[in-house]
C-alpha cells in the first residue's frame, strides 16, 4: 500500500506553504464578503477568523490521518486500508467527483466574472476549451510543474492584495463596531458559509506522498493555511469598512467592485487588469483539482493518468456547457458548497475517528 513517487517528482516541504493558499484562494475571494456579511454583519471578520482556525484543526487531522500509520499513505490507500477494496474505492470515486466539482466551480465562476465584467457576449465554450488546453499543458507536466505554477501564480497575483490600500481613504472603520453584536449562532452560520472559500486544503490527502521530508511539511501547511486566513480577514475588513453594511448586501463581487476605485496616473479602472491577472490565481487551483482527480482515478482504476486527465477535462467541458446561466451556476455553487461542507466538517473527522479506532484495535491484536 506504500505510495512512493520517484524522488525527482517530489517537492520540498517548504512549497506546501504555497500550495495551501494556491488552492484555497480562488474566485471566492472576489465576492465572498456579501454572503458572509449577510449572516453576521460587522462581525463577519470574526467568522472568517474562526473558520480559518477550524480549518487549521482539520488540517492537523489530515496530517494525523496520513502520518500515523506505519507507512506513508494517501487518501486512496487510507480508504482501501480502512474499508477494504470495494467500499474504499466507492469513497475514492466520491472524492474524484468532488475534485472535479471543485474544478468546475472554479472555471465556471471565473468565466462568469469575465462574462459579466469584460466580455458579455463571449463564446464560453471556446474560452473553456482554451483554458482546459492550458490546464492539460500544466497537469501533463506533473505535480512539480503544478506546484511551480502555484508559486509563480501567487507571486504574480499577490500584488493585487496591495490594492487594498486604495479603499482606505474611503474607509469608515467605525463600521466594524459594535464588536460582537451578533449571536453565536449567526456567527457560526457565517462560518459555515465561509467553508467553500477555504476548501482545497484537503488536497494534501492526495499530494502528501509527493513531499520530501514529509514531517517538516506540516509546519508549512499550517502557516500556509494561516496565510490564507490573513488574506481573507484583511479582505473582509477592508470591504466592511469600504461598504455600508446595507450596501454590501447587493454587491455581488465586493472585492472586484472595490478595485474600481484604484486610480493610478497611467491606468484607471484597475478591475480589468485585476480580472485578467486573477487567471494566475484561479488556474493553479483548477490544475491542482484536476490533477488530484486524475491521480486518484489512476490509483483507483489503474489506467494511465494521461487518459484519465483527458477524460476528466472532457467531463468538465460538458458540465460547463450545461451551466449556462447565473441561476444554474448559483445553484451548483450552493450544492457544492454543501457537499464540501459535509466532506470537510463531517466526513474528515469521522474518518479520523474511525482510523483511530481501527488502529487501536489492530494495535491490541499485535
Amino acid at each position: 500500500m506504500e505510495v512512493k513517487p520517484n524522488e525527482t517528482k517530489q517537492i520540498s516541504p517548504f512549497f506546501v506553504f504555497f500550495l495551501m493558499p494556491g488552492m484555497q484562494i480562488g474566485v471566492g475571494i472576489l465576492g465572498f464578503e456579501r454572503i458572509i456579511a449577510k449572516e453576521s454583519g460587522q462581525d463577519a471578520w470574526i467568522s472568517v477568523l474562526i473558520s480559518g482556525l477550524i480549518i487549521n484543526v482539520l488540517l492537523w487531522m489530515c496530517f494525523k490521518l496520513l502520518g500515523r500509520g506505519p507507512q506513508t499513505l494517501d487518501l486512496v490507500a487510507i480508504h482501501k486500508d480502512l474499508f477494504g477494496k470495494w467500499v474504499g474505492n466507492a469513497f475514492n470515486i466520491l472524492f474524484i467527483l468532488y475534485f472535479i466539482m471543485i474544478s468546475i466551480i472554479l472555471i465556471r465562476t471565473y468565466l462568469e466574472v469575465i462574462q459579466v465584467w469584460m466580455f458579455p457576449g463571449v463564446n464560453v465554450l471556446m474560452l473553456i476549451t482554451i483554458i482546459l488546453i492550458l490546464v492539460y499543458r500544466f497537469v501533463e507536466g506533473g505535480f512539480r510543474v503544478i506546484t511551480g505554477f502555484c508559486i509563480i501564480g501567487l507571486m504574480i497575483g499577490s500584488p493585487l492584495f496591495l490594492l487594498n490600500y486604495f479603499p482606505l481613504k474611503y474607509a469608515h472603520f467605525e463600521n466594524l463596531g459594535p464588536f460582537l453584536d451578533h449571536s453565536f449562532l449567526e456567527i457560526m452560520k457565517a462560518c459555515k458559509k465561509m467553508t467553500l472559500n477555504y476548501l482545497g486544503f484537503e488536497l494534501i490527502l492526495i499530494y502528501y506522498p509527493f513531499i520530501k521530508n514529509r514531517e517538516k511539511s506540516q509546519k508549512w501547511a499550517h502557516l500556509g493555511a494561516l496565510f490564507t486566513m490573513v488574506i481573507y480577514v484583511v479582505s473582509i475588513l477592508v470591504s466592511l469598512a469600504y461598504y455600508h453594511q446595507d450596501q454590501l448586501k447587493d454587491v455581488i463581487w465586493a472585492t472586484l467592485t472595490l478595485w474600481k476605485i484604484v486610480d493610478l496616473p497611467f491606468i484607471e479602472r484597475f478591475e480589468y487588469i485585476g480580472i485578467s491577472v486573477w487567471l494566475f490565481m484561479v488556474l493553479p487551483n483548477v490544475c491542482l483539482g484536476v490533477w488530484a482527480a486524475s491521480r486518484t482515478a489512476k490509483r483507483v482504476f489503474g489506467y494511465r493518468q494521461k487518459k484519465m486527465l483527458v477524460l476528466i477535462l472532457i467531463i468538465i467541458l460538458v458540465s460547463c456547457i450545461f451551466l449556462d446561466n447565473r441561476y444554474r451556476i448559483d445553484k451548483f455553487n450552493t450544492i457544492s458548497s454543501q457537499i464540501g461542507f459535509y466532506i470537510v466538517y463531517l466526513y474528515l473527522p469521522l474518518l479520523f475517528i474511525w482510523q483511530s479506532i481501527v488502529y487501536k484495535f489492530r494495535g491490541h491484536k499485535s
Binding site: 460587522q42 459579466v116 463571449v122 463564446n123 469608515h172 478591475e271
Partner: protein, 360 residues
C-alpha cells in the same frame, strides 16, 4: 499528442466565433457628461456630451451634444444612438447631472443603472443642477478647451474646499445605508459659465429642495469630515471682515444613550491661520484671542443653525444615525429615527489660531 492536436484544431475552429464585442477606441463615442431632466409624462430627457475626434487636425478633439427623450436611461442611450455615427459608450463617464425636478422625485431609478453596469467606474461624480441639467451639459463643449472634462474639474476643485467629497460610491454608501442621507453638489449656469451653487440636501434619494449655500459649504465640510483646506469669512467688527483659513480641522461625534434618550455632542477642533484682517492698525500686534473668540461665536452659531436645519427636515447627512449604530449594541433603528428631530445636538467648536502668515 493526438489529443493535443485534436484540441488545437477544435480550438481554431471555434476561433472563428470568439464572440467578443470589440470596442475600438475611434469607433465609439465616449460619453463624458450626461444630464437627465424630467420631461413630463413619466419621461426623462437625456443629454450627453461626447468627445469626437476631428479628422485631419492633430490632437484636436471636438465635443458634441446629443439628446433624447425616453422612459429610462438605457432607452435614452438607445435613442441618442439613433443620431450618432458610432455607438455612445458610458465606460468613461465622469459626471452625471440631474435636473432639480427629477432629483426631487427620487434618483434611485436613475442611479441604479450606474450601480449595476460593470463598465461604470466608481469615481463618477453625481450632481444636481439648479434648473435644467441640459443647460449645464450644453455649456460643457463651450468652455475652455483644455483636455479633460470641465464640469468634473470644477467639482474636483471645489471638493478640496467647499463641497463634500461625493462620488458614485459615496452616494450609494449614503443612499443605501440606514442612518445616513446623501448630499450632492448643486450646480447652476450663470451667463456663459457653470458655477457651484451649494450642497443639495437629500432624504434617502429625494432632493428636498433645500441646499447649503456655497460659502457655507465650508462649514458643512467642517462638520462632516476632517480636512485641511478652505476658508471662511467672518464679520469681526462693524464693516470689517477677516478671513479664517483652515489649516486642519477635526471632528468627533459623541453619542450617548442612543437606544433610550439620545444625546449628541459634535466636537470640532480647528487650527486656523489668519491671512487677511481688515480695519486693523498695522502698528499693533493682532489680538488673536479676540478674533478667536469672535470666530468661535460666529461659526459656532452657524453650525448650530445648520444642525437644527437638518433635524427640522428629518435628514441626517452627518451620518449621526450610522455613528450611533456603530457605537450601540442592539441598536434600535426605529427608535432613533423617531427621536432624531428632537435629539439635543450640541456643537462644540474650538478654534486655535496658529499663525498669521509671514507678517506679524
Amino acid at each position: 499528442m493526438k489529443i493535443k492536436l485534436l484540441l488545437i484544431t477544435l480550438a481554431s475552429f471555434l476561433m472563428t466565433a470568439c464572440g467578443v464585442e470589440k470596442q475600438i477606441l475611434e469607433d465609439i463615442l465616449i460619453a463624458e457628461v450626461v444630464g437627465y431632466d424630467d420631461a413630463g409624462d413619466k419621461k426623462i430627457k437625456g443629454t450627453v456630451v461626447v468627445s469626437v475626434p476631428q479628422p485631419g487636425e492633430e490632437a484636436d478633439l471636438g465635443k458634441e451634444v446629443y439628446e433624447a427623450d425616453s422612459h429610462d436611461i438605457k432607452a435614452a442611450r438607445q435613442q441618442e444612438n439613433a443620431k450618432t455615427p458610432y455607438p455612445i459608450v458610458g465606460g468613461r463617464l465622469t459626471v452625471t447631472l440631474y435636473g432639480e425636478e427629477l432629483a426631487s422625485k427620487g434618483l434611485n431609478d436613475y442611479v441604479d443603472t450606474y450601480r449595476r453596469d460593470p463598465m461604470v467606474g466608481r469615481d463618477l461624480y453625481l450632481a444636481v443642477v439648479h434648473g435644467k441639467a441640459e443647460d449645464v451639459v450644453k455649456m460643457e463643449p463651450k468652455l475652455i478647451k483644455t483636455p479633460g472634462v470641465q464640469v468634473k474639474e470644477l467639482i474636483e476643485q471645489n471638493i478640496r474646499t467647499n463641497l463634500p467629497d461625493v462620488d458614485l460610491h459615496r452616494y450609494l454608501y449614503a443612499c443605501h445605508g440606514k442612518g445616513i442621507d446623501p448630499v450632492l453638489p448643486l450646480l447652476e449656469t450663470t451667463g456663459d459659465q457653470i458655477r457651484v451653487r451649494g450642497i443639495a440636501l437629500f432624504k434617502t434619494d429625494r432632493y428636498i429642495g433645500k441646499y447649503i449655500p456655497y460659502e457655507d459649504g465650508f462649514l458643512y465640510k467642517v462638520l462632516s469630515e476632517n480636512f485641511k483646506l478652505g476658508s471662511y469669512e467672518i464679520k469681526w467688527k462693524e464693516n470689517d471682515f477677516t478671513d479664517i483659513n483652515n489649516v486642519e480641522s477635526r471632528v468627533h461625534y459623541h453619542i450617548s444613550n442612543a437606544n433610550q434618550d439620545p444625546k449628541v455632542r459634535i466636537e470640532v477642533k480647528m487650527k486656523a491661520s489668519l491671512l487677511e484682517v481688515q480695519g486693523y492698525d498695522l502698528g499693533k500686534a493682532v489680538d488673536l484671542n479676540k478674533i478667536e473668540a469672535r470666530a468661535e461665536q460666529v461659526i459656532g452659531k452657524k453650525l448650530n443653525e445648520m444642525v437644527t436645519m437638518f433635524q427640522e427636515n428629518h435628514i441626517d447627512p452627518l451620518a449621526l444615525g450610522d455613528h450611533a449604530k456603530s457605537k450601540t449594541r442592539n441598536f434600535d433603528q426605529k427608535h432613533w429615527e423617531e427621536a432624531y428631530p428632537d435629539i439635543p445636538i450640541e456643537v462644540d467648536l474650538d478654534i486655535e489660531m496658529i499663525q498669521t502668515g509671514i507678517a506679524e
